[in-house]
């Protein structure tokens, strides 16, 4: 760039320096506050947690390095396997939210009178706190005064306390968890259905595609972005499940409804004592499991970016 020599006063030199470089410096100035806060509160703690997992630490007295002892102990801890297995059960059962959400979306994708309000009311459970949903369902399952009490006696299962039943407590919580999750998937699919090109549907219909074939060959492929997001949020939701367990069973009875997220909390911050190192080891394993999904998600985003989407 050619600049007139007369701009050589100190002031205008500085301002022209800024002018020349501002496009390079500005992004960093804009990134600094948010980026720093994020680094301090989100990125650094991941590494701190991983490092704490190699120590024995009660949170107060000095920590002592124990190598992989926490992980070794974890491998022999029956509660760890119960929690891990429950996470798997959560993952599998929670996936039901995706097809059920799709079914609901198909059912509601009409233009009858009042449908907008009906859709909002179907979506409603998602807006309410999981803690509140947990409280509501705890009372639902209550064997004497609960809502399902009459239903239970009808089936001859009087006084069956689902949440106190070692074999079924987890399913009881998952069922409650599905309630908002289905609503979430439904809204994703409703938006997806809304964006399907009408031409393609008409073309398909002209070619004689009907019902199931039309759905399978034309609709479902176009819903792929919605399906992808629905699966991502459902997997993350299943692995993050904490609130409902904390509210409904605290992992009980006898740890049978525990999951890694709650197990970690229990070890690190509850009456079981303050085992920060052990808790961090559990958190690290949960993190590594989730990292698989995160990396896959990032990989897909990267591919889309390269394609210029």
């Amino acid at each position: 760039m050619n600049r007139p020599i007369s701009e050589f006063s100190a002031h205008s030199y500085r301002s022209s320096w800024w002018k020349r470089h501002q496009a390079r410096i500005t992004p960093w100035l804009f990134l600094a506050p948010g980026g720093m806060l994020f680094a301090i509160y989100v990125i650094a703690p991941i590494f701190q947690s991983i490092s704490i997992s190699f120590y024995e630490w009660d949170g107060l007295s000095p920590a002592s390095y124990v190598g992989v002892a926490n992980y070794v102990e974890l491998m022999d801890d029956e509660q760890f396997y119960v929690s891990l297995w429950n996470n798997v059960r959560w993952l599998i059962c929670f996936m039901l939210a995706v097809p059920i959400g799709l079914g609901l979306a198909l059912f509601l994708n009409q233009t009858v009178f009042g449908i907008r309000l009906i859709k909002s009311l179907f979506f409603f459970p998602f807006v309410i706190s999981q803690a509140v949903i947990g409280l509501i369902f705890t009372w639902f399952y209550e064997p004497n005064y609960g809502v399902i009490a009459p239903l239970l006696s009808l089936m001859g299962w009087d006084g069956w306390a689902i949440l106190a039943d070692e074999d079924y407590a987890t399913y009881g919580i998952i069922f409650a968890g599905l309630y908002p999750q289905i609503a979430y998937c439904m809204i994703l699919y409703l938006t997806g259905l809304n964006n399907i090109s009408a031409d393609q549907i008409e073309a398909g219909r002209l070619d004689g595609a009907k019902g199931w074939a039309l759905f399978w060959n034309i609709i479902l492929p176009q819903l792929r972005p919605a399906t992808f997001i629905a699966i991502v949020v459902t997997v993350i939701g299943a692995l993050r499940s904490f609130d409902m367990i904390a509210i409904m069973t605290q992992g009980g009875p006898w740890g049978s409804s525990n999951v890694l997220a709650y197990f970690m909390f229990e070890q690190a911050l509850s009456e079981y004592g303050y085992r920060m190192g052990y808790g961090s080891a559990i958190a690290t394993i949960l993190f590594l499991i989730m990292l698989v999904y995160i990396l896959y998600f990032i990989f897909r985003m990267y591919r889309d970016e390269q394609r210029g989407l």
């Binding site: 496009a23 500005t26 909002s120 409280l135 209550e142 009490a149 809204i187 997806g192 993190f287």
Partner: protein, 283 residues
């Protein structure tokens, strides 16, 4: 449109739909209807097992009065607002800047930084719990609203950055170029061109963050101990211990806790859904 519009189907299907639709809605909302009905009752009905009939005494106002006078529910609600509103403002303000930086400038490491913000969204909270609690202690902010807000702002910046960056990137880039040629500084471009155009994104983020933070339970239990700073989710849980089998009070309390996000959702519905379904219709 798929499925076939109901007007174009046979009369049988049409009538069936007309019946099944409201019936399924009622079935779906049973848990919530149950809570509303119970909040109207007195304790007598609950011990007598009258759950779905008409209340024998209408005690909604009494229950609400009980909830607000015998418990710190009012303080919990205020705390929730004190946590939610600053978080919403903070996270959205920071992410307008980070989103702009990542969307409008090409520099080395841009995509990497963006992916770090994205990845941060999906990590399990437990991996952050101990260091964040420790840091909050060291800052002298444990058991305070400020401490909780600081963390929420930092964490939500990840999600908001993802959202803002994609939104700003979809704006026509020529706008920035034209302004630069006219001699506008980078800051003017941000303030005068980008911010006004991102208003819909800001609205969507505000409702989403409001709902997420209002409904947070985990961090409220990790960073708050006393009732003086407790938000309504954690407060309700602590009251649940006192109200053994007082389901009419639990129901009334749950309704109070749910009203703000529900109102927010119904008022800002379009923005809420637009924000939530971001990415569900592209690719």
């Amino acid at each position: 449109m798929f499925p076939t519009p109901i007007e174009r189907t046979s009369i049988v299907t049409r009538s069936a739909y007309r019946i099944i639709l409201p019936a399924s809605l009622i079935l779906w909302l049973i848990p919530l209807l149950g809570v509303m009905l119970t909040a109207l009752r007195g304790p007598g009905d609950i011990t007598a097992g009258n759950l779905w009939g008409l209340p024998s005494q209408w005690m909604f106002l009494t229950n609400m009065h009980d909830v607000f006078t015998n418990t710190p529910m009012f303080d919990f609600i205020i705390n929730s607002f004190k946590i939610t509103v600053p978080t919403m403002i903070g996270a959205v303000a920071l992410s307008c800047m980070t989103g702009f930086a990542l969307a409008a400038y090409q520099f080395k490491g841009n995509l990497l930084l963006f992916f770090i913000f994205v990845a941060g969204n999906f990590i399990p909270f437990q991996i952050l719990m101990i260091p964040v609690r420790d840091l909050t202690f060291q800052l002298g902010l444990y058991d305070t609203v400020t401490g909780l807000v600081m963390f929420h702002v930092a964490f939500q910046t990840g999600f908001c950055t993802l959202f803002m960056r994609n939104f700003i990137r979809a704006l026509p880039h020529e706008l920035f170029e034209a302004a630069r040629i006219d001699g506008a500084s980078e800051f003017t471009i941000f303030w005068k061109i980008v911010l006004p155009l991102t208003r819909p994104a800001i609205a969507a983020l505000c409702v989403l963050i409001f709902t997420f933070i209002w409904n947070d339970y985990f961090w409220a239990t990790v960073l708050i101990q006393g009732q003086h700073a407790m938000p309504v989710t954690a407060g309700l849980k602590s009251l649940n211990g006192q109200w053994i089998a007082a389901y009419h009070l639990i129901s009334a309390g749950s309704i109070v806790a749910a009203i703000p996000p529900v109102l927010m959702f119904f008022i800002m519905q379009r923005h809420f859904i637009a924000g939530l379904t971001l990415g569900a219709n592209k690719g």
